[in-house]
Symmetry: C4
Subunit: 187 residues, 4 copies
């Protein structure tokens, strides 16, 4: 809640209205940052069901969503497929370049991009984005750069908070929820 008065400020609301692409890191943002290594060399990832629902709402509201990970994991690509994430980049050393490519492909301006990151390797991509989010577990250097620090930590609903705040600022939340619930109630 540290940033609460600022978060809801007119300046932030104005920034949030411009967002067309929501890009995010994976480890520490969509997960709590644990690297769960099995003996067979496979990795297990623990995502959060609430983040998945928030991302679905963003997609229903017409936002672009991108996952950009410095690592590669079959578990990440499986979860991305389940959620129909349109843009998945894995094994990506240069996340800023990945964001720049998306900006080019969709003819966006930096102010149309929101980015969620938690650590040093997210700083270049965060610097590129017009709206910068940090989960509560982010390092201080990232938090210092962030327009908003979420109350929840990565893997525990941080991404959902970001989805909700963007959709509400754009007055698209009620509409997205209605479409979502109507889809559920379809016979």
């Amino acid at each position: 809640m540290a940033n609460a008065p600022l978060d809801r400020s007119a300046a932030l609301l104005s920034k949030l209205s411009a967002v067309r692409l929501l890009a995010m890191d994976v480890d520490g943002v969509l997960t709590c940052g644990e690297i769960e290594v099995n003996s067979d060399g496979f990795e297990t990832k623990r995502f959060h069901v609430a983040d998945g629902l928030g991302i679905q709402l963003c997609l229903l509201a017409g936002l672009q969503v991108a996952w950009i990970s410095g690592r590669s994991s079959e578990a990440v690509s499986r979860r991305a497929a389940e959620l129909n994430i349109p843009h998945l980049t894995m094994g990506c050393a240069n996340k800023a370049k990945a964001v720049a490519e998306l900006i080019g492909r969709f003819t966006l301006q930096p102010e149309n991009v929101a980015y969620i990151g938690d650590d040093l390797n997210d700083l270049p991509a965060l610097s590129l984005a017009g709206v910068r989010f940090a989960p509560s577990n982010a390092i201080s250097e990232v938090k210092a750069l962030a327009d908003m620090v979420t109350e929840r930590s990565g893997g525990c609903g941080a991404v959902r908070e970001v989805c909700d705040v963007i959709l509400k600022a754009q007055e698209k939340w009620n509409g997205a929820v209605e479409i979502y619930l109507a889809g559920l109630l379809r016979p």
Copy 2:
């Protein structure tokens, strides 16, 4: 404890006395909401041993118990089988419809149904139920609708709290515990 004075109110006790069916969501209610994806595409689910015991007490006391999940998981069906859950619905988009079918099958009234949910996709089913529970990790829209918010979060004993409060309101808790312990002590 936020709702404690209200929780134990005469109005809630009266509502709890009418419960014949305890229906609940899975992810975020029987688990903490983590979607644990392995590289081989299988999912691991982490249930809580205390919830299992609470559900056993409800069954011993003659309540119907239903698990209704929007997702499908072999881990969920295995745990349901171990606990002899009589009604398991998976891959269910329309949870309200699933609840309505159970109401029809057992010739119940809505006031005979308690439902535990944590997120937007539980709202229609929650609205149908006479008694509405939210684990502490539920979103604010669900909590606003809830008759009682548990102290524990999903996957950490939230369901046990609901089982205990229903059985105690119905004065069936002591009897169920006696039957349960007698079963354990049988040679």
Copy 3:
């Protein structure tokens, strides 16, 4: 810390001095109570390294140690084997009977038995034991019966706390640590 003044009381110290057998439940005591179900039907258990060390100290000090679980799990038997737990009972509905058998086998009195449990199905065994421990996550009925409630929860070092308090009350802690460290330093 709720019970701290009582815990260290002369009455408790006297009780602890008599302990010859430390028996304990598994789920919720040696683990946090999560039942982690994989799709292939296998279960994963998460023990704590600090509990393992505490149990090793108890064995070095000449105490008997028993694990008594209502469930059966290959993961439990593997961890028990690694720690050389002398008495492992799994799939045990009647834990009180299992404790009574150990009392008979070693010609003990109830006051020589310490038991750690967290839920209803531990009540009969707890009632049999001379010294009763509850981890912080135990249900209120178990805590009400306990001589001491640990500060740590099950799976997070609760068992280590019990090991330490027994060995220190018996003035065997320093000796056990010396033997343990000497073993480590052996070339």
Copy 4:
């Protein structure tokens, strides 16, 4: 934060400047201490992505890094390989001997060694090291010996805190981050 005034003291800064080798325990330091046992006998380990990045910075700054574990695990050797840990010792009963060998191999003095440990079996190695770190989850005997207790617990970023504090004391942090980020931005 308990030790904060002391941590940043001139005495500690002076000690930190001398560090050339950062050695650490694995269970309870690089993980939260959970021993996650699968039914097939394999173990899963959960490391933290932030610790990995901190260790990479230390290696970029020219420090030696060693992992010394009393246990053996394929998951540990896989994570060590991914991070290019130069010195990995597993199944090590005598950690002090392992530290002494590294001191000999690199012609160091004890004051050039920092060690992070959390339990009794780390005491001999900690006693040998010039700078001693304990994660917040360490036992009191280890904390009593520590020059600094981290705010984060093992597996949740404790090692990252140690990496940062050493590199900042040596005024190598900015440089290491620059090299690290330049590597990421390379086309």
